[in-house]
Amino acid sequence: MTSVIIPAARPAIGSAGKTGLWRLRRPVINYDKCRRCMLCWMYCPEAAIEVREGVLIVDYDYCKGCGICASECPAGAISMVKEEVSGK
């Protein structure tokens, strides 16, 4: 009796390495403007925005800098800041 194998992939953090290295611009949250509406958390395609005790925190290890969060934020609390080459 042959068992059935299926082409499934299970979600795992970091299976493609630290994809944050791909980033050209980083989202920076202005917490004075943030209303904790969670839209950035919901829209982030990489699940790279975490909620810790009600505070939204970007995981820069995996955020690829796509800017969707900044584009969706109704409060204009997220700005995309150009990454600097380290050492400069």
């Binding site: 042959t2 059935v4 194998i5 299926i6 082409p7 499934a8 992939a9 299970r10 979600p11």
Partner: protein, 374 residues
């Protein structure tokens, strides 16, 4: 209950009796009346299913793939160009091991346009991992479609059921429609695919397989289909007991017991083959007919046994692998060779695009084969 039904309406009754949850299809001649009848059943509340109208066959197959991922019993039907349009998704259904059933009303592929029967469309999926059954009457369309749902759920592979355009699809004949209770007993609840959505075990289907892993997936489907013959036989026997009718197996053998030549045919053309066999028997030539009812699993054991016993085969093919020959003849030679059965296998490719089967050509070919044997 006995009803006068066309092949297409018989398929719709089978879908209703199988309590299918989701149907998605795009109309194409000669498949259209399958879906029209199912739509009528849904509209009247006789079938509690979601009928999804889609903008193309590619979407039809994608929709039933989604339904099967959700754990639903799903059905679609198409013909010729429609099948070719959904081709990418056809392979997806098999690769993801989804128990989908599809009706294929066989029709010639364009150009030139043809709406008449030809098995080229059906045969185009033979390397995709689908199980493939073929009916020759409205009754058999109903029976094989019901069996297909159970076969699909046992193999965890999609199953195609083919039947000839117009000759079977639009010809009405008396059909024994089994009781709902009997079909419920036979089929049971839909069995969820191993890839079905499970909120406690999230996964995505469509992983990348590196070269060392990819062959494992192909081999896995190959082994399932190679081992499917006894399962199909057992399921048909179970079904036959439930509905009180005779089971035929992967090949229906007609007058094969004492035959010196056997004509191998599939679908409606087997009727013409029987006509030729009877005519030749009146002339003293003992001819039998082996009607193929399953192309995947391929009836390897049956064909080897029949060929060995008779000593010669004539394969009547309604599908042409252009540049090499009749598809069933080629596959028959391949399995006989693998089993060391060395008998002449003559091929006749005929009936393409709805052409009348030339009885005289078939008769002369069979006669020549019988004479050559002495």
């Amino acid at each position: 209950m006995r009803l006068v039904l066309t092949g297409n309406h018989a398929a719709a009754y089978a879908v209703k009796l199988a309590r299918v949850n989701v149907v998605a299809a795009y109309p194409i001649t000669p498949q259209t009346s399958v879906i029209e009848k199912i739509s009528e059943f849904v509209e009247k509340g006789e079938l509690n299913a979601r009928l999804i109208r889609v903008e193309s066959e590619h979407s039809a197959m994608a929709a039933v793939i989604g339904a099967a991922f959700a754990g639903a019993r799903a059905y679609t039907a198409t013909s010729a160009q429609g099948l070719l349009y959904m081709y990418e998704m056809v392979w997806w259904a098999a690769g993801a091991r989804l128990p989908i059933v599809m009706g294929l009303v066989t029709r010639g592929i364009a150009p030139p346009w043809s709406i008449w029967t030809d098995h080229a469309d059906f045969m185009s999926i033979r390397d995709s991992g689908w199980a493939m059954l073929f009916a020759a009457s409205a009754q058999e369309v109903l029976d094989l479609t019901i069996i297909a749902f159970k076969l699909a759920e046992e193999l965890m592979l999609p199953v195609a059921v083919g039947w000839d355009a117009f000759i079977v699809s639009h010809t009405a004949e008396p059909v024994h429609v089994p009781e709902q209770d009997a079909v419920d007993r036979f089929l049971g609840e839909p069995k969820r695919a191993p890839a079905a959505v499970d909120f406690d075990d999230p996964k995505s289907i469509g992983a990348l397989a590196f070269p060392k892993d990819y062959p494992l997936f192909r081999e896995n489907i190959h082994e399932t289909l190679r081992g499917a013959s006894p399962k199909l036989r057992r399921l048909e026997e179970e079904y036959s007991k439930v509905v009180g009718r005779k089971s035929l197996g992967l090949i229906e053998e007609i007058m094969c017991d004492d035959a010196e030549v056997v004509i191998v045919a599939m679908g409606a053309a087997a009727g013409e083959a029987v006509e030729v066999a009877r005519a030749l028997r009146r002339e003293g030539v003992r001819v039998g007919v082996a009607r193929v009812r399953s192309v995947r699993p391929f009836p390897e054991e049956d064909l080897a046994r029949i060929a060995e016993k008779a000593g010669a085969l004539v394969v009547l093919d309604r599908s042409y692998s252009l540049g090499i020959g009749g598809v069933i003849a080629l596959e028959t030679r391949a399995v006989l060779h693998r089993r060391g059965v060395t008998v002449p296998v003559k091929e006749v490719v005929a009936g393409l695009g709805g052409q009348e089967i030339p009885l005289e050509v078939l008769r002369r070919t069979v006669l020549n084969v019988a004479r050559e044997r002495g």
